[in-house]
Amino acid sequence: MKKQSRLIISILVFGYAFLYIPLISVVFYSFNDSKLATVWGGFSTRWYGELFRNEQILDALFLSLRIAASSATLATIFGTMAGLILVRFGRFRGRALFSGMITSPLVMPEVITGLSLLLLFVSMQQLFGWPGQRGFATITIAHTTFAMAYVAVIVRSRLTAMDESLEEAAMDLGCRPLRVVFDITLPLIAPAMISGWLLAFTLSLDDLVIASFVSGPGSSTLPMYIFSKVKLGVTPDINALASLIILVVSVTLLIAWIVTRKTQPRASS
């Protein structure tokens, strides 16, 4: 009993170490005073200060946040609609195909998604002149297409777990079908929509591959900026930036987790 638990604890410690030591070292070196990223030269927060004086980084950051917020919002709207159609509209023709196509971006290699979207935008531009310049709009569209798959999956599982007679009861009490969606369905799947939005937000914020394909000159997202900087060698301000991103992503995921957890027991009891 005792032995076994010691074994389990050491496996656990090893597993966590494997996962988090790289992250911890990034955070650790972000407080490094030395200009050389891997040589410890005393504690300092000066790289954080430098970070906020760097126009390029700030531009990239605001672009990333704008893209993340708008693509997450669009993905939540479309993903919720897709989830609703899959669960509540019965067995229409082509349902299996639709269901497969909704979830396929989850398994599609990002390179393929990025490349195909780039080809689409290029041919669209040739056909009717839009988008004239690749940047905010194209990246947002690209992120929406893959993030809505995640939202659709989350909303779908929530809807499947939801008692369908709740909606029937509303209709029975005199509520018209469209109104039922706003009165009953949406309030009850709101937690799933919120965690879907947060997930879509972090996915967009993280994405490097797809954004690289569909962005144009002068519109670098934060991951793209970091990646291009790192190619010239790791500088300490990147460590500071990475630490901040880790913080933001963890907080977002924590909120998503709390939102789902808080509303789950109510649904199951």
Binding site: S165, D172, G174, P187, R266
Partner: protein, 367 residues
Amino acid sequence: MSEKQKDFIRIRGVSKLFGDFVAVDNVNLDIGRGELFSILGGSGCGKSTLLRIMAGFETPTAGTIEIDGVDITHLPPYERPVNMMFQSYAIFPHMTVEDNIAYGLRKDRVARPEVTARVDDVINLVKLGEFRKRKPEQLSGGQRQRVALARALIKRPKVLLLDEPLAALDKKLREHTQFELMAIQDQLGVTFIVVTHDQEEAMTLSSRIAVMEKGCFLQVGEPKEIYEYPTSRFVADFIGTINMFEGTVTQLGDETIIVNSAEAGTNLHALGDHAVEVGQHVCIAVRPEKIFISRDEPENADDIKVRGVVDDLGYFGNLSLYRVRLSSGKVIQVSSQNRQRSAKRFVEWEDEIWVSWRPRSAVVLRD
């Protein structure tokens, strides 16, 4: 009673097919105003589908439904003068008890003072006063059931449909709630249609019962009629316990039928002018409580008497149940009321005894 409309609900030739599967098969039924009508059947017999057709959640493949002279077959659920209490109760988890109950009236844009007054009324009716501000997750099963009932009653529907209203409650609460349900129905005079698989529930609650099997009604009648005069083996067996003796009709009298049954090991006679012929295969069915058990041969010459051995006996306080093995090997059930207080049993295991019953206690079943 007589002025009450007998065909308040008229169901005519209603069928429902799901692909090839016939869920409801050409059902005809009249239900009177103010009745507490039960549809009783096992799972998958089509009773819930029929209820959902009445609520408007399913469209019948064929047939019509009228309520109070109005054809509602193609009305959507939100336009029917019908409300439903769901098996899961379907209480909106994001609304308080009060908001749940008021929901139907708000959807009808009833003026606010009237909503408040009517919510107060039903909340008093179902005794939920102290819980009105609570969220559903803070309620017990019995309280949820009341919320569901109040919510369905507040619009004063012409018909209230109840899908397994008591199935989610424990036994003690179920008995209590059963009588409350009957009292509320009596007080409001609303027509109730209850779907249930629980025959005891149907027997105590209903003014009439329809026994359903494979999408058809096998028998419709008052509980007593269905219990005492079942017309088919399925109904006889489904409602309560019954002993059945297979046999062949050997003789037909004016009022009596004589059936030779190898299972009983003797000729059985039963009363009634049943449409049977000599040589026809029938079944004589007798309820356990109609059978007497005695140590000595019963004196009454008219009675059917068969010898047997006590295989098993169970003491239930108010009654005793016996399993008696007849000489043919058939085991029958007999129950008798324990009228006298006695620590000693008058028959014991493996005792040789007589079982007997009156000819008019037996039912002749053709199919």
